[in-house]
């Protein structure tokens, strides 16, 4: 009886050791996975940062102004003026049918780059 208990204990210890061992490995594996995910996130972040910087650079007011001036014949964009504020009752309802826009004019798929254009 005694020896049976002893061997049972020994088996239990072995079993638990095996479980702990495999758990440990699974934990390590998860940590490694999280770390690689972090690296992916960091890489994605730096990509986003570059894209944001590029977006800010392409949308800098000087460039937009120059583009608006270059494309004035097509777009007729002017700075916002006080007269452009309207009241809600100035808007006709129901909306009148808008004339078809010439497809060739819009949208702008090939913007002119004015990086090097100086004042």
């Amino acid at each position: 009886m005694k020896s049976f208990l002893y061997s049972l204990c020994a088996l239990a210890v072995m079993g638990l050791a095996f479980w702990a061992y495999s758990e440990n490995y699974r934990t390590q594996e998860s940590i490694a996975k999280v770390e690689s995910l972090h690296q992916d996130i960091a890489a994605a972040r730096s990509r986003v940062a570059v894209l944001k910087a590029e977006w800010a650079y392409l949308n800098r007011p000087d460039r937009l102004r120059d583009l608006a001036e270059l494309n004035y014949p097509r777009l007729e964009l002017l700075p916002l003026a006080p007269e452009q504020f309207g009241a809600i009752d100035q808007i006709a309802y129901p909306r009148p049918d808008l004339p078809e826009l010439p497809v060739s004019g819009l949208p702008i798929t090939d913007p002119v780059d004015v990086m090097e254009r100086s004042e």
Binding site: I31, V34, H38, R60, R65, P82
Partner: protein, 600 residues
């Protein structure tokens, strides 16, 4: 020593019998045999002990080998903290971005590369120099060749290179040319808000990284804050509005050219929150390529000089409204009080006269004193207020200390005022002469006076609510002051300042520039227009200052604010007010302030 061994008998019968026959003692045989047996036993146990020692020795050897191996492993590996969990958030080591009030990027980082050389690893230095100068035409070929062939072991070639340049250098195929990662500060909008942002440069440098540090402006003021890794890369939100700033710079630049001015500055500030929406100083610079400070001459001629913040000038008659407001606050006058404007006003050997020696007759109402900009009337009011009370009032409005704006340059821009605040000083300061302040001081003073009378401090950080500072004047006085400023635009010296729908109120100021050796120039002025809009429900104050402007459309060149700063300010309001979301209003028939006399 038990049974299984084949034992030699101690007394073998044959030998005993033989020995007895020979007359020998048979006990000797027994002893001899005992001795032999003991020898065998001894040899055996020795063998066993030796074996055990060897095993023990092996164990020790294994133990030492294990410990030794582990120690070697620890010594050669990078130190790592033992951990049971992965960190949940990555520490962002990058310098934080700076964004405007709507989150548009004003300053960000860009990963780029630096180029350095190990001259001892160069295979063909001459070819490397030739190829490098082809990629970077600004490099000095001779010097580079000298460095490459000398005893230097390490050499920076370029601090920042673009990816295309990196590829081109890579294509040279020289093993002695190496790249290090570099984080670069990028100001995508170029010169817009250059003075506010300041600039950044590299601090401590190593091959694999470099510290980016702020060198001026908010970059330097918030250096610690921007570099703090605990903030997890959260951007610094400024109160500036990029669109408004760009439009203001554009308009001011146009105005500066139109009036041939040497420089120009403008400050647009929210009257309730103290947020600086735009702060312009021209000429400006590109913070991506921040120029070096001047080594000789006047620093105020450098584009780095921030006229709106660092330029302390006598801003002239724009100060008169403070005298008028204080007189009303103290109950010495109301807008309809008649003020003695009979000239000339003499004090000792000094004579105070009107602008261009005009004469406004014996008396004017207080409103008309402001509207006509009468020096004599204002000076007489200041005499009644007295120097102690005047100084205290100006101190309360922040005119005697540097502004608390969050830029490193702010602390150095202390106003200039006479140490001995005499009666004469009181009179001249009442109309803005004898005290030099920055346009930002004036904007903050106007905001505090006109927003209902609560003191505001100018700030560059985005605010969520109004600053409820101490009450400097009563709300009725504030409204009356606004009504007076509105009259200056509708009837008085700033008639070009009217912008339909925005009820602009403001006060002009024209001051002769002081000569470096004392006295004043008679053909150089600083013109200022300090304004508030809309005057009936104030939202913003705008101060525009032009340095040495001249308007040449008339017979004689005109250098007064009414002809120069005012039209520029009006155009600025026309352009920026819609961008700020202010819709033009049809003005109320009566302004609140006009009812002041009956309410008291």
């Amino acid at each position: 020593m038990t049974g299984e061994m084949i034992r030699t008998p101690l007394r073998p019968l044959a030998r005993i019998l033989g020995a007895r026959q020979n007359g020998e003692n048979p006990d000797w045989i027994e002893r001899e045999n005992i001795r032999k047996r003991h020898e065998v036993m001894r040899d055996k146990s020795r063998e066993m002990a030796e074996g055990r020692l060897i095993v023990l020795g092996l164990f020790f050897l294994a133990g030492f080998a294990l410990i030794g191996a582990r120690m070697t492993l620890l010594a050669v590996s990078e130190p790592v903290e033992p951990r049971a969990t992965a960190t949940t958030s990555q520490i962002i080591a990058q310098r934080a971005d700076i964004v405007d009030r709507h989150g548009r990027v004003l300053a960000t980082n860009f990963d780029t590369h630096s180029l350095y050389a190990h001259p001892q690893d160069l295979i063909d230095p001459a070819k490397a120099v030739a190829d490098l100068t082809k990629i970077f035409p600004d490099l000095d070929a001779e010097r580079l060749l000298k460095d490459f062939t000398g005893d230097r072991k390490f050499l920076w070639i370029k601090r920042k290179i673009s990816p295309e340049q990196k590829q081109a250098v890579h294509d040279i195929g020289e093993p002695g040319l190496l790249f290090g990662p570099r984080e670069m500060r990028l100001y995508p909008n170029g010169s817009i808000a250059a003075h506010v942002l300041g600039g950044a440069s590299f601090g401590k440098e190593a091959v694999n990284s470099a510290e980016v540090i702020g060198t001026a402006g908010v970059e330097k003021h918030f250096d610690e804050y921007l570099r703090d890794p605990a903030r997890d890369g959260a951007p610094l939100e400024l109160s500036l509005d990029l669109t408004v700033q760009a439009a203001a710079e554009r308009v001011l630049d146009g105005g500066m050219r139109l009036f041939n001015a040497k420089g120009a500055a403008s400050v647009l500030m929210d009257v309730h929150t103290g947020e600086v929406i735009s702060l312009v100083s021209l000429p400006d610079f590109d913070p991506n390529e921040r120029p070096r400070p001047l080594t000789e001459g006047d620093q105020s001629d450098s584009p780095l000089f921030n006229r709106a913040l660092q330029g302390v000038y006598e801003l002239g008659s724009a100060f008169k409204i403070f005298t008028a407001a204080q007189a009303m606050e103290l109950g010495l006058a109301n807008p309809e009080t008649q003020v003695n404007t009979q000239g000339p006003l003499k004090w000792g050997r000094f004579t105070i006269g009107e602008f261009q020696n005009k004469n406004y007759g014996p008396t004017l109402t207080l409103t008309r004193v402001i509207e006509k900009s009468s020096n004599i009337g204002t000076a007489r009011l200041a005499m009644e207020i007295g120097n102690t009370r005047q100084k205290a009032f100006l101190r309360e409005l922040g005119f005697l200390e540097p502004t608390p704006l969050e830029m490193v340059e702010a602390k150095g821009a202390a106003p200039l005022y006479p140490s001995n605040w005499s009666e004469l000083s009181t009179m001249t300061i009442s109309y803005g002469h004898g005290i030099s302040t920055s346009p930002l001081h004036l904007a903050a003073g106007y905001a505090s006076l006109l927003n209902g009378g609560r003191k505001v401090q100018p700030t560059l950080l985005k605010q969520t609510r109004a600053q409820l500072g101490e009450q400097v004047v009563r709300p009725e006085v504030s409204a009356a002051a606004r009504a007076m400023l509105r009259r200056v635009v509708t009837e008085g010296t700033a008639s070009f300042g009217d912008v339909a729908g925005y009820a602009v109120g403001g006060k002009t100021g024209t001051a002769d520039k002081p000569r470096p050796r004392g006295g004043y120039y008679d053909d150089r002025t600083i013109t200022t227009f300090a304004s508030v809009f809309p005057a009936d429900d104030p939202k913003y104050v705008l101060v525009v200052t032009l340095d040495e402007p001249v308007e040449t459309s008339g017979e004689k060149p005109r250098r007064s604010a009414g002809w120069t700063a005012v039209p520029v300010a009006a155009e600025l309001i026309r352009r920026t007010a819609p961008l700020l979301g202010l819709r033009p209003e049809i003005e109320p028939a009566t302004l609140q302030g006009i009812t002041l006399t009956s309410s008291e």
